[in-house]
Structures are given as C-alpha cells and as structure tokens.
C-alpha cells in the first residue's frame, strides 16, 4: 500500500465513522408501515420514532417526525417488537458437569462465546432478547443469562441486558423428569422421588443459610462463610432470581407447583408437554409456561403426549404462556412459526403475538424494557414483509436498541437466514441433553 492511497482511505473511514455516529445521534423513523405494538391495537400507515436506543414516539401518520431524522420507508412492511426467546441454547455455553446433580454456583456467562455464529441465527429469526440456559441433564444445571443480541459483541458484557455482571442478570435452570436421572444414582438421582428430595434438601439448606445471614444482621463476625451456591439459592428464595424449570409430564409439572408452594420461589415452567392435562392447576398457581412447538409427538417417553394444542389449552385456562425455540431443538430462524402453529390449534391472534414478545419479557422480569412498542421502551423491533404468521413472510431487518443487527438485503448477512457454504462454521447444539 502506498501513502498516496492511504489518505482517501482514511478520509473514507472517518466519513463512515461519522455516519455511524450520526445514526446513533439522529432519530430513526420508520414511516408508513403497519405497526403491531402488541400492547395496543395495530396501527396502519404508522410512524415509529426511535432515538438513542429507545422508542420516543409511536402513532398514526400524523405523528410528528423530528428534524434530522433518518427516515426508513416502511410502506408494505409490518413492524413488531423484537422477539423474546425465553429458552435457547445459542452461544455455545454450558452448565454444570457430572460431579454433582445441582450447580447453583455455575454461571453460563462464563462459558458463552459472544461471537458464536448461533447468535446470527437468532438475529435472522427476529429474536432480540434471549434467555440462554444450561442443559436439563441436571436437577439444577446452573445460572442462566438474559442477553440482548446487540451487534458485534466482544465480551459477554456486550450482550447482557445491563451490560454488566453486577447484580442479577439471569435466572436459574432446574429440571425434573427423566433427563436428570442416572441409572445407579450416585451423586445423581435414579428416581423421581429422589429428584424431588434432593431439590427439597437444597432449598432447606438455603433457608438455613438465609436465616443465619438474617440473624447476623450487620455483625460480620456472625455471618456464615461465603457460599456461592447458597448466595444464589437465597436470591431464588427471595424471588429475585426466577427459576426456569424444565418439566414435561403432568405429574412432574405438579411436583414443581408443589415445591413452589412449599418454598415460595418464583418459577416459569419450561416445555410443559402435558400442559393440556393440568392447565387449570397451572393457571391457579399463577405460573407462566414457556412452551415449544414440535412437529411430531414423542422422541422420548415423557413427551409422548405433547400436543400443538398446549398454547390454546393454557389460554383457555387463563394461564400466561409464551413460546421458546430451545435452539437447536427448533431453529431460531423460523421462531415465528411456533406461534403460527399455536394459532392453527386455537390460540387467539393477540395471545399469539404476546406469546412471542410480552409473555417472554414477563418471564425474564424485563416487561418494563422490552416486549412491546411503547414510548420509553428499548427500540428492539423487527421489520417484516408481511403478516407475522405467514410462512411466506420474511424477517427483513432486526433492530436492537435502535441499531440494526440483521439485514436480509445485505449479501453478507442474507446467509444467516437461509444457510449455505461456511455460514454456520461453529454451530453448537446440545440435542442430546435438551428438551
């Protein structure tokens, strides 16, 4: 490279940087699209204004458009909130190992690859927030992480909702049923009865730790030694950390509800294959369900009675529910398909929309930041070329906090939606131990 060429290149780089800065600083307006706020009725020929990562205005065609706004022509498009996937394994992370059945101190954030190309699958599917979970091969496999799928992350903090490892940034993954059973037992349970016993004992131990901490008050000398497992479990007992509980059969589901009643933790039921059989009990417990659409029943004994009607059964019973991908069990790129099949089997359109957005936001305690297009919320949205629940509709663009993170029209990114040569080079799946 000679120096005569360097100068214009530098100038070009500066201009690029300036325009990127401008995109951050100037409001972005999507004009003329059908807006689906989820929190309210659809708006045809709408105006969505986002600025500095937040939604600053949403309304009809008369909505004021700020000066200096970058305007995107949304005519013929549909805009809805970014999708919330309340259970996924993108990011290549893992959880506890075979040394024990319960690992409350193990954090998936310590194992996630922020540059994993599986995140591109999720962005291409319109997913903007995801609960990344360790597996179900344990009674308690570790701490989960709530991630915003921002562009070009280099550190795990770049993906965490508050960009920080301080405080609580995820839930805890628990499981019952057959995935966590090991013939012969040992440190693992071999039966359902022992599974519940081991979980119960962990909660009792945490209650004792909690009491010691309370009794000690401000007296450092009386406090028990730091115990990362117990500290986490106390967060669970105090309702600060949500339990994301993998469970399939109707009797395993009721075991979860019983444990919740006994210890008072907050819980989201995951998969819930027999939800149709115990929907009333789930509703009465006031517990939300994160469910999955699978194209055929079975695959293992405890999912032999799974039905695509679970969503409709929960809606009828008055229980909150949303869909998840469990990626790689189902593919993030076709996530909208899950709620579409829910509708096919009786879920109302409004609930189907919520099940991909607001319901997931509530499960992650993020309902004040994401899940709907409302002023003050994060500017996480997707631009579609048609109805969200049509097979022919494509996610054209995905935006997180006012920044575009996926664009189907960009030849470099198109493959994230379709696949192809060397698109997913390091794709990880955990098929053997999930679902």
């Amino acid at each position: 490279m000679n120096h005569r060429n360097l100068k214009p290149m530098l100038l070009g780089a500066l201009l690029l940087a300036a325009s990127a800065l401008q995109a951050q600083d100037n409001p972005v307006v999507i004009r003329g699209a059908t807006l689906i706020p989820v929190s309210g009725p659809e708006i045809t020929n709408g105006v969505l204004v986002v600025h500095r990562g937040k939604i600053t205005a949403i309304g009809g065609s008369s909505t004021a458009i700020p000066r200096n706004a970058i305007i995107i022509d949304g005519r013929g498009k549909v805009v809805m909130p970014g999708l919330v996937d309340s259970h996924s394994h993108v990011g290549g992370g893992d959880g506890g190992d075979g040394s024990a059945a319960q690992h409350p101190d193990v954090r998936i954030v310590d194992a996630i690859n922020p540059r994993s190309d599986t995140f591109n699958k999720a962005r291409a599917g319109g997913i903007t927030t995801v609960n990344v979970m360790p597996g179900s091969g344990h009674l308690l496999s570790g701490q989960t992480a709530y991630l915003k799928l921002r562009a070009n992350p280099k550190r795990i903090e770049d993906l965490l909702v508050n960009r920080s490892l301080d405080g609580i940034y995820g839930g805890i993954k628990m499981a019952n049923g057959t995935n966590s059973l090991r013939a012969g037992g040992g440190t693992f349970p071999a039966t359902r009865g022992r599974s519940a016993l081991m979980q119960r004992n962990l909660f009792i131990k945490a209650q004792e730790y909690q009491k010691k901490m309370r009794d000690a008050g401000d007296d450092e000398s009386k406090k028990p030694a730091r115990d990362l497992q117990m500290e986490t479990m106390v967060e669970v007992l105090e309702g600060k950390r949500m339990v994301h509980y993998h469970t399939h059969t109707h009797y395993d589901i009721l075991t979860v509800l019983r444990l919740k009643e006994e210890f008072g933790f907050r819980v989201v039921l995951h998969h819930v294959s027999d939800a149709w059989a115990v929907a009333d009990q789930i509703a009465a417990a006031g517990v939300a369900s994160s469910i999955i659409h699978i194209d055929a029943p079975g695959g293992k004994l405890e999912t032999m009675n799974i039905t695509p009607e679970n969503g409709a059964a929960l809606e009828r019973a008055g229980a909150d529910f949303g869909y998840h991908t469990d990626d790689g069990i189902t593919d993030s790129r076709v996530f909208l398909r899950s709620a579409a099949f829910g509708m096919r089997y009786g879920v109302s359109r409004q609930k189907a929309l919520e099940s991909m957005t607001m319901a997931g936001a509530r499960m992650l305690d993020l309902q004040d930041r994401i899940g709907s297009l409302e002023v003050g919320k994060d500017a996480d949205f997707i631009i579609l070329n048609g109805d969200p629940f049509s097979v022919y509709t494509r996610v054209e663009q995905t935006w997180v906090e006012g920044t575009k993170v996926f664009d189907f029209s960009d030849p470099k990114e198109r493959g994230f939606a379709t696949g192809g040569l060397d698109i997913f080079r390091e794709t990880h799946v955990h098929i053997a131990c999930e679902h």
């Binding site: 022919y392 939606a417 696949g419 098929i431 679902h435």
Partner: protein
Amino acid sequence: MKKLLSFGILLLASGMPLLAQTYAIRGETVHTMAGESIKDGVVLVKDGKIERVGPASRVSIPSGYAVTTAKVVTPGFIDAHTVVGLAGYLNQNHDQDQLDRSSAFQPELRAIDAYNPREVLVEHLRVHGVTTINTGHGPGALASGQTMIVKTSGVTLQEALVDSVYSVAFTLGSSVSSNFTNPGSRSRMVAMLRAELLKAQEYANKETKTRDLRMEILGDVLSGKVKAMITAHRATEIQSALRLQREFGFDLVLDGASEAYLMLEEIKAAKVTVIVHPTMMRPVGEAGNATMELAAILHKNGIPFVFQSGYEGYVPKTRVVHFEAAVAAANGLPIDAALRALTIQAATFLGIQDRVGSLAVGKDADLALFNGDPFEYTTHTTAVMINGKWVSTQAR
C-alpha cells in the same frame, strides 16, 4: 421391483359389503397436478379409484354420492424418504428398527420385515395429508438395508404395501464412522462399497451358485431393478457417489445432498434425482452447509428433486414433508413447483405414477383436503382419503 397386492384394500377392509363406495369431493380449487388447477372442481370417487375429475359446471354429481367440500383439494402428498414405521415415536429400543448397528453393511435387511403400519408416526403423517411414503432403513450405515413404498393407511403390511423393495439405503459420510468402527474413514467406505459391488458382479455372472441374499439384492441394484439411494451431504461424498455410479452403472438417487449447490453441473450431467434434505434440517455436522434454498436452486438449474421428512434421532421424531416443502416455497421455490415435487414428481420418481400423484381417472383415490393454502402455517388439513376411504375427517 413390484410385488403388488393390488386386489387388497377394499376386500381386506373388514369384510365390507360389496356395495359401490361413491364419494364426490368438491373444491374451490382442485390442484389435479394433471394440467391446470380447476376452480370449483369436482372429483368423483368410486370403489377406491378416481372416476371423474372436472369443473362443477361439467361434472354433475350423481345421486347417492356423499359430498364433501373443501377450499383446496390436492392429491395425497408423497414423502420420498422417511423411516416412520421402522422408527417409532417413543424412541425406545423396541421401536427403533431403522438402523442395525451389528454391521455397517447389510443391504439384505428388508423393510417389510420391520414395518409397523399402526405406528403413531405413520398416523401422524396420514392425518396431515401424506398418503404414500418411501420408508425403511435409515441413514447412518454404509448399507443399512432396504426401503419400500407403502400407503399410510392399513393395519397390516399387506394392506399398506405398494412396492416391497424400492431402494437400498447407502450412506457416505462421517455419520457412518461414528456409528461403526469399520469403515472408519471416508475412503474406506468407498473401498468397501466398491469391493461388495465387484463381488455382486461376479455373483451375477456365475452359472451355478448357492443362494446369497446380500449378493441377490446387490445384483438387483446393479441391474437397475432396485435403486441405490445414497445419503451424501458433503461435496466429497456426492462426488464419490457419482463416481461409483459411473463405475457400476446403477440407478443412483442422491439423498440429503446439502452441498449439491457446489456440484450442480456434475449432478445434472449424471441425470440424477435429488431427495432434498428437510428444509428445516439443523445446519450441523455433515449438513453444516445446508441451505433452505436448495430446492429453489435445483429447480432453477433444471435438476429433478423431491422432498422428504428424513430421519430424526430425537425431536421431532418425524418431520412432515409438506411443512418442509412450505419453507422451501418461502425460500425461492415457486409454489406450483413445490406442489409438483410433493405429488406427480414424487410419484414418477418412485415409479408409481400410474397409481398416485395426480387426480386423474383410474388412479387411486388418494386425496388431501385443506381449508386454505396447504403450505400456510395456519391452514388445516380438513380430511384425507386413501384408496377411496376417508382415513381422517378431523381438522389438523
């Protein structure tokens, strides 16, 4: 190779009175797959066969014909490659007969000896409108066994059977070496297959011989009586399959073929049909370079293709072939091309186009009824008929 038991269905079905069974199906759109689709069309069915097809203005419904209406009527869909019936939904040892791990090379294993026509997964395909399947031994062994063609109805094999041996299922790729220690490499796989085919050539030329079931079925592959269905995802394996085909002249079908887009000219020159991997197949392992656009790419390049539900080791324990075709249609494949691949193209591919694949006079009355575009997520299959009998009338 057909061992048709064509007399079967009506007589076998529980000693039914030998009265004419007559139905009229009236559809707002009837995709006959034999010429243009018909607006407000009528299909008359008598004694298991299609009696007449045409617009309602020209085909009057005779008295005594039970009338069923639908928004959209198509021929029953054809799944060109599955393992259901050998693979069961419980996924326990007792219901997984698609792969015998005792040896990597067993082309003599017959699908008819393992098929369970009452398997829940077979019913699952049937009620969604899939009426004919090529099913049998799965991928994962150098030669896992044979496949056959059945209808998705019937409580015994005889009632279901269309063709007892359609293909031998071969696999080239790392899934074989992960299931078996021998062969343990790609080149060894090809060497083993070549050696077995050479043996079969010699066997075929012998004057006197003791019966050898393996050599007999490989002889049928070499003579073209039975297809060689080779599952091959990577371009390396696709090339090996094409090379073996040139050497031995068998009738090759390429299965899966994730990287077929890298080999378009070679595949086209070999005049080979591709059974496209399920569109929503996970892009992992050997299929890591799969694209949802493969069917569209093959269509654009004039390479014949059909769809499959394939094999799944976990969940979904089976895919549904038109759900996969639908996503291909959303990824660049024209809708009518997707419909053709599911019907008349698949029937021709399986050599049973005289019986199924289109709504034409004299063909088996296999129909699927829908309350909208069959590919839309929210459309229901409202009824399914096989051999002139309703096998499902509940919306799915």
